[in-house]
């Protein structure tokens, strides 16, 4: 048995995993990154539009600060997020952008003087702020009060990932790529590493670590069509679930992005609409202002996606060979803008649709895009139930996004959570709690268990075809656990997924190759995926309300009285999956529950909301400045690592 030791085992080599590794290394510990693919091929690379941070450098972001970013994020989450985490995040985002700026990301910069932009389909002229020339600029994104999304053309994720990937090389951080963590090693309630399969040779090894960090992204490919990279199958969440100890939070919170191309499901960035693009129907009519007069195409993603489907249900969709769709029109932006700021969009249109977006409309429809749910952690990124297991980025539910994520907050979250969680991980490792009794017997026990499963599969002659079962799962998720949900469909989904899980015990494989063997890989991943899919469906069935991206046709109201709580999903080692709930405390909220301002108000209020609103209003009158007010309502600074507690400088808020 091959046994490796590292201080911190980081599973996942995307932005969150890389930044965590760098932070841990800088604290004098040895990290090791495991990744299914070379880190620069991670899904982070596909983030196009940008990263939110309240720098306030460009004209349309004048006066922006953490408070406004915080309020946008909480509203965006439909009050489902952890407000302490949202505070820590909005405080850190400017620091993260500035760190990346120094390390090499070529952020787009402010130009002096007057320049043209498109707002609500109209060309307008904007005067740059005095003194802002050369600072990092921002574009508009959905659900935000200010232009806050920092970007490099529409290759933001690429630029960030390459900078951090190269930084990790610079700091001599080892990466074991084309490796997959099959199971977490744990003794009772203490995680101690993972059993790892080499995807090239098939060999299994045990990696023992004082702390294990899961940063494997979301679970989009439980759905037949998703904007996610094909490696985002919920495997990180699944190995946490399979410990029987760790909990997953809010799995039912799944985001559908308004503009993925049809039929390939490849994303075209929200930056298209942020920069002034509009949505049109079969008649070429711009319909969004009819539904959402104020924000129109730039309402929150969940809202725009639902409005699009609503409009198609009225017969206004475009009927195509691959089903119905609507049009995204960016011709109004002009060729020069598209070829400079939306070049990936242009390439995608050219290669996958054979069209020129400077001339033609783009066929789009809402498509699975983001997993708000994930491994439940505290604000430090640690699982409250399985010590030594941490998670960050999209894989986690720590919980920044609640029931709907704002565009531009995910790449920001990856690096911010990496910066923070690495510090907490290092604190943990250097405390007595971080000690482990290295046990090769324990590692052997887990390794033999995994080896036995693989051997059984390689000899399996059952009747079920893993490809067919997977397709059925994807179909169930698309048809019954999608954008619009109801009790009957969800119950059917739960029943069908349970049957699939049983059938997955009777697989038959055609290939007996123990090394690089995609059929074997699918076979052992299938039950993992089904368990996560079942968690999404169970959570959605139980949640009899509509909040953010979770919309129940049979329960259209947001019900704070009964549902202002987080779903916790656990699967005890011997037994049935369980749902538990963790209440959100209205009395502690800096921003008490309110109306998001989309459609008509339909909220069952929480009994504590009124009292808290009054407290907050009173505090607002007394506080001398925004910092004092914030401190009084919900102190958070003491929770930050000491090095990150200082305020952020801005043009209009200089530091001494």
């Amino acid at each position: 048995m091959k046994l490796l030791y590292t201080d911190v085992l980081i599973i996942g080599g995307g932005l969150a995993g890389l930044r965590t590794a760098i932070g841990v290394k800088r604290r004098g510990l040895d990290p090791l990154i495991l990744s299914l693919v070379p880190p620069k091929r991670s899904h982070s690379v596909a983030a196009q539009g940008g990263m939110q941070a309240s720098l306030g450098n460009c004209a349309k972001s004048e006066g922006d600060n953490e408070d406004i970013h915080f309020a946008d994020t909480v509203r965006g989450s439909d009050w489902g997020c952890d407000q302490l985490v949202a505070r820590m995040f909005t405080h850190m985002a400017p620091k993260a952008v500035r760190e990346l700026a120094a390390w090499g990301v070529p952020w787009s910069r402010v130009r002096a003087g007057v320049h043209e932009a498109v707002i609500h389909g109209e060309r307008v002229r904007i005067q740059a702020l005095e003194g802002a020339q050369g600072l990092i600029t921002a574009r508009d994104f959905g659900g935000t009060k200010k232009w806050r999304t920092c970007y490099t053309a529409d290759g933001t994720g690429h630029a960030m990932l390459y900078t951090l990937g190269d930084r990790a090389v610079a700091e001599s951080i080892p990466v074991h790529d084309r490796r997959e963590a099959l199971a977490l090693i744990h003794e009772g309630e203490r995680c101690q590493g993972a059993i790892v399969r080499n995807l090239m040779t098939g060999e299994l090894s045990a990696y023992l670590a004082r702390a294990t960090v899961i940063a494997t992204g979301g679970y989009g490919h439980l759905y037949a069509v998703s904007t996610n990279a094909i490696i985002n199958e919920g495997l990180g969440q699944a190995i946490a679930l399979e410990t029987g100890v760790a909990q997953l939070g809010n799995l039912e919170a799944v985001q559908f992005h308004p503009t993925a191309i049809v039929p390939a499901g490849i994303l075209v960035t929200e930056g298209c609409r942020g920069d002034g693009g509009v949505l049109r129907d079969v008649d070429g009519y711009r319909f969004m202002p009819d539904y959402e007069p104020e924000k129109a195409e730039l309402a929150s993603r969940d809202v725009v996606s639902r409005r699009m489907v609503e409009h198609m249900r009225k017969g206004k969709g475009v009927k195509g060979r691959f089903g119905e769709h609507l049009w995204l029109d960016i011709t109004v932006l002009g060729r020069a803008h598209i070829e400079k700021h939306l070049r990936e969009v242009k390439e995608i249109c050219q290669y996958f649709l054979g069209i020129d977006p400077a001339v033609d409309y783009i066929p789009v429809r809402p498509t699975q895009h983001y997993s708000m749910g994930g491994i439940r952690t505290d604000y430090r990124g640690e699982s409250p139930t399985l010590r030594g297991l941490f998670a960050c980025g999209e894989a986690a539910c720590w919980d920044l996004h609640g029931f709907n994520r704002l565009g531009g907050n995910s790449v920001a979250e990856t690096v911010v959570s990496g910066m923070l969680v690495s510090e907490y991980v290092a604190d943990f490792c250097t405390s007595p709690e971080g000690d482990i009794q290295l046990s090769s017997a324990l590692a052997r026990e887990f390794l033999q268990r995994e080896q036995a499963k693989l051997s059984r599969l390689l000899a399996a002659t059952g009747e079920e075809n893993p490809v067919a079962l997977r397709q059925q799962m994807e179909h169930i998720m698309m048809e019954r656990v999608g954008l619009f949900r109801n009790g009957a469909e969800l119950q059917t989904a739960v029943d069908e997924l349970r049957i699939l899980l049983q059938r997955a015990e009777n697989l038959g494989l055609r290939s007996r190759q123990p090394a690089a063997n995609p059929e074997l890989v699918l076979a052992y991943r299938l039950p993992k995926m089904l368990k996560i899919a079942l968690g999404v469906a169970l959570g959605a069935l139980a949640r009899t309300e509509s909040r953010g991206a979770h919309f129940r046709e049979d329960y259209p109201e947001r019900n704070d009285r009964d549902w202002l709580k987080r779903t916790l999903y656990r699967w005890p080692e011997s037994g049935e999956p369980q749902l538990d709930y963790e209440p959100l405390d209205v009395k502690q909220m800096e921003l008490p529950p309110g109306f998001r301002g989309y459609g008509t108000k339909n909220i069952v209020e929480h009994p504590d909301t009124k009292a808290r609103q009054a407290e907050v209003a009173q505090a607002q009158q007394r506080a001398p400045d925004r910092f004092a007010l914030q401190e009084q309502l919900m102190p958070f600074r003491h929770l930050l690592p000491e090095r990150y507690r200082k305020p952020n400088e801005r043009l209009h808020e200089p530091l001494p």
């Binding site: 620069k40 952008v97 120094a102 990279a229 690089a516 995609p518």
Partner: protein, 242 residues
Amino acid sequence: MNRTLRFQIFRHHPLDPQSQPRLETYRLEESPGMTLFIALNLIRAEQAPDLNFDFVCRAGVCGSCAMLINGRPGLACRTLTASLPETITLLPLPNFELIADLSVNTGKWMRALSERLETWVHLNEEPDIDRLEAPMDADLAEQIYELDRCIECGCCLAACGTAQMRKDFVGAVGIHKIARFRADPRDCRDDAAYYEVIGDEDGVFGCMSLLGCQDFCPKNLSLQTQIAFIRRKLARQGWKKT
């Protein structure tokens, strides 16, 4: 009527002592909008469950799926079958270690390149991230982004004559990366430092200007311009040295 495509796909499993490199033939009915990503997944699902190939983003941005498509390097995910004849031959990318079938280890090669050329911004000091960021000219930021767009897919190496002859040649990808960092004022290295890493025949002076890299770069990077530029700058540096 849809065409029936005839795929000839390279099969070999180097770790399996019984395996012999060979071409196997698969037939598949073409459908509208079919890409090689869709076609290969169908072949795997229906005919060859153990067929290895690499896709990640399937949108032309991650650089995983480069292979030889009828002899020419390209990204399989965004290649439409409609742009190809009825017989489609797929081979793994040359110059990289073969994992199995169409899967090659570009990641390992690129990591080694990164270590060798030190492809990161060499900082004078760590930034104070509480303060305003250092300003940068907007045009310069765009120029750096333009040079930053390489996706490390390996097509330039596969199309390179020098790489066939010199196993340690850094390729267009390596020289272009030096151009990227050289253009970036945040990197404190000078030409002497760049000369150290690519000022020889395994670096910028090994290029024979056959232009294969330029012809097949899926991101249309101006590889030849950058190679010529760096060669001129480093030739001057070499002249100074002696």
